[in-house]
């Protein structure tokens, strides 16, 4: 079932000289875990904003094309209306804290109060996300007294509690240490396996390649490619497009991978299997 349909999306911020998004078209099925990569200013954040209605309702500017998320056309619904179906976790966790609540527990409830969720359901959902994001021990803390990593987990929890059908995450692990990053990816993958559609912008290529089913490559506002990681990272023009392949892929290219291959290893496991197959080398 098509959860997200984008047709001919072009957008320019007010006062901007260039288009931030230029004629994007793609579809995403329910439950897919999609990664978005690209150089800075390639349009990744703008695309995230377009999926939740911030573009065009918050930013105005010139909007062309169609964006349909969970059956709703973003032009025809306001942001609050879309918020029930599609959530966005921003890059900077500090600015996502409402500031109106004194504890982590109440902060997560903020979105649910806005949506009119009944009290017992609210409590159930808050407990669930506190557990999921491993922040249950922080429930009575003041949101502003958390570390950057803890704040980021709180931001993700606050959106997850809404139980949207689609969650968009814009560099959600930037402040997290390696294990924290791994936990976020695992949690998000779990949601994806439960039917939530996930869109994640990331610079951590190795992690994204291991978890995402398909990756969209943006360059100067255009969608250059949208394919499974094994295919996308086989491209030979990645550096020119401002991105790099996973380290594993770079390694196999250095030890004998044919440049014309249409599929390449992108994860530790893939690479190990490729090496064993090609060289008959036995590892662990």
């Amino acid at each position: 079932m098509k959860k997200i349909v984008v047709e001919g999306l072009s957008y320019k911020y007010p006062l901007a000289k260039k288009l931030s998004l230029n004629n994007l078209s793609f579809t995403i099925e329910q439950g897919e875990f999609i990664g978005i990569i690209g150089a800075n200013l390639s349009g990744k954040t703008t695309l995230c904003q377009a999926l939740v209605g911030l573009v065009p309702h918050f930013y105005h500017g010139s909007f062309k094309g169609k964006v349909i998320v969970a059956g709703m056309n973003t032009m025809e619904h306001n942001i609050a209306g879309l918020a029930e179906k599609v959530g966005l976790v921003f890059q900077n966790p500090f600015n996502q804290i409402s500031g109106a609540k004194l504890t982590v527990y109440e902060e997560i409830a903020f979105s649910l109060e806005n949506l009119g969720i009944p009290q017992d359901e609210m409590i159930r959902r808050i407990e669930e996300v506190l557990e999921l994001l491993d922040i249950h021990h922080l429930r009575a803390h003041n949101p502003f007294q958390l570390s950057g990593g803890q704040m980021q987990r709180l931001a993700i929890a606050s959106i997850m509690a809404i139980q949207p059908e689609i969650i968009v995450l814009d560099e959600p692990t930037s402040q997290l240490d390696p294990q924290g990053t791994e936990e976020v990816f695992k949690t998000v993958q779990q949601l994806s396996s439960q039917g939530v559609t996930i869109i994640m912008v990331e610079h951590k290529i190795e992690k994204l390649a291991a978890y995402a089913q398909k990756i969209a490559l943006l360059h100067e506002g255009e969608l250059i490619d949208f394919a499974p990681p094994e295919q996308l990272f086989a491209r030979t023009d990645l550096h020119k497009l401002g991105v790099r392949p996973p380290i594993f892929t770079q390694v196999v290219k250095g030890i004998g991978l044919d440049n014309n291959e249409s599929k390449v290893p992108v994860t530790l496991k893939d690479t190990y299997e490729w090496v064993v197959k090609k060289f008959g080398h036995s590892g662990s």
Binding site: Q91, D177, P178, E206, I247, V251, S282
Partner: protein, 270 residues
């Protein structure tokens, strides 16, 4: 003489809650990465080095002189710190003035300050943006400007606080190039980071902080072979190291070149 010496350093923001406990370290000019879990005391440590905080116990010697005898401004000449958030310091309406702010504070004359600023901007590949308003640029570009602001003061010790957050491929390449150039100028480079691949690729020494103590101080190769210590600090081995391990290559692999070199001599032809 060691460039930077830390003797028995302890620090607490509030009495009784020690954030750093009896740290003993010395640095020459070996590029060093400080890693560890969030909250382990890394940022507090570099603030102490910079003189922004005073030790409760212990001493810090920068080029032989105790930091207690310097003012923050005079210490700036020797040791530079590039903060995580460029928005906490940018205030001029054009890039060049912004980068000249530091050198001018050091009482260098205008011409020399301008030269140093232009040189620093060239190093970060932002020389075509000198007339732009910093707030019209992207966050990643502002980060590069904050790096230039410190480089323009030409300190011998340069500390980066999480330089790679939110950087894309091009930004990473610029940062790697800057570190390479600083290394060739014999400067002491210290970085705080979560990016293990970045560490393996650029730094020869690793210090792991945990709960206010140094639990490991050694060559990068040795540090990254200690899987258990890394895991207890919520860290991981760099991706390339993990690959080398999995293929049972005995040496701890830190770079792609390392791997290729080791692999070629290790392959069993099929």
């Amino acid at each position: 003489m060691d460039t930077l010496v830390v003797k028995n350093l302890s620090f607490a923001y509030q009495p009784g809650i020690e954030v750093l406990k009896e740290i003993n370290l010395s640095f020459t000019n070996c590029p060093t990465a400080i890693i560890g879990q969030n909250g382990a005391g890394k940022t507090t440590f570099v603030k102490l080095l910079k003189g922004l905080l005073q030790p409760i116990q212990g001493d810090i010697l920068v080029k032989g002189k105790n930091t207690k005898e310097y003012s923050v401004a005079s210490l700036t000449k020797h040791i530079g710190l590039i903060f995580q958030n460029p928005n906490d310091q940018i205030f001029k309406s054009n890039v060049l003035d912004e980068v000249m702010f530091g050198p001018l504070n050091l009482k260098i004359d205008l011409e020399e300050a301008r030269e140093n600023a232009l040189e620093a901007l060239k190093q970060v590949q932002m020389e075509d943006k000198i007339k732009d308003n910093p707030y019209d640029l992207s966050l990643a570009e502002r980060k590069l400007i904050s790096i230039a602001s410190v480089l323009a003061m030409k300190p011998d010790i340069i500390i980066f606080d999480e330089p790679t957050i939110a950087q894309d491929y091009r930004g990473m390449e610029i940062i790697k190039k800057i570190i390479y150039e600083l290394k060739s100028q014999n400067k002491l480079i210290i970085t705080i980071t979560h990016d293990m691949d970045f560490v393996a690729d650029n730094f020869s020494r690793v210090i792991i902080f945990q709960k206010g103590r140094v639990i490991l101080d050694g060559f990068t190769k040795d540090a990254f072979s200690q899987k258990d210590i890394l895991r207890n600090s919520f860290l991981e081995q760099p991706h390339i190291t993990q690959l080398g391990r999995k293929l049972l290559i005995p040496e701890t692999i830190l770079t792609i070149e390392d791997f290729i070199r080791n692999f070629k001599s290790f392959t069993i032809p099929s």
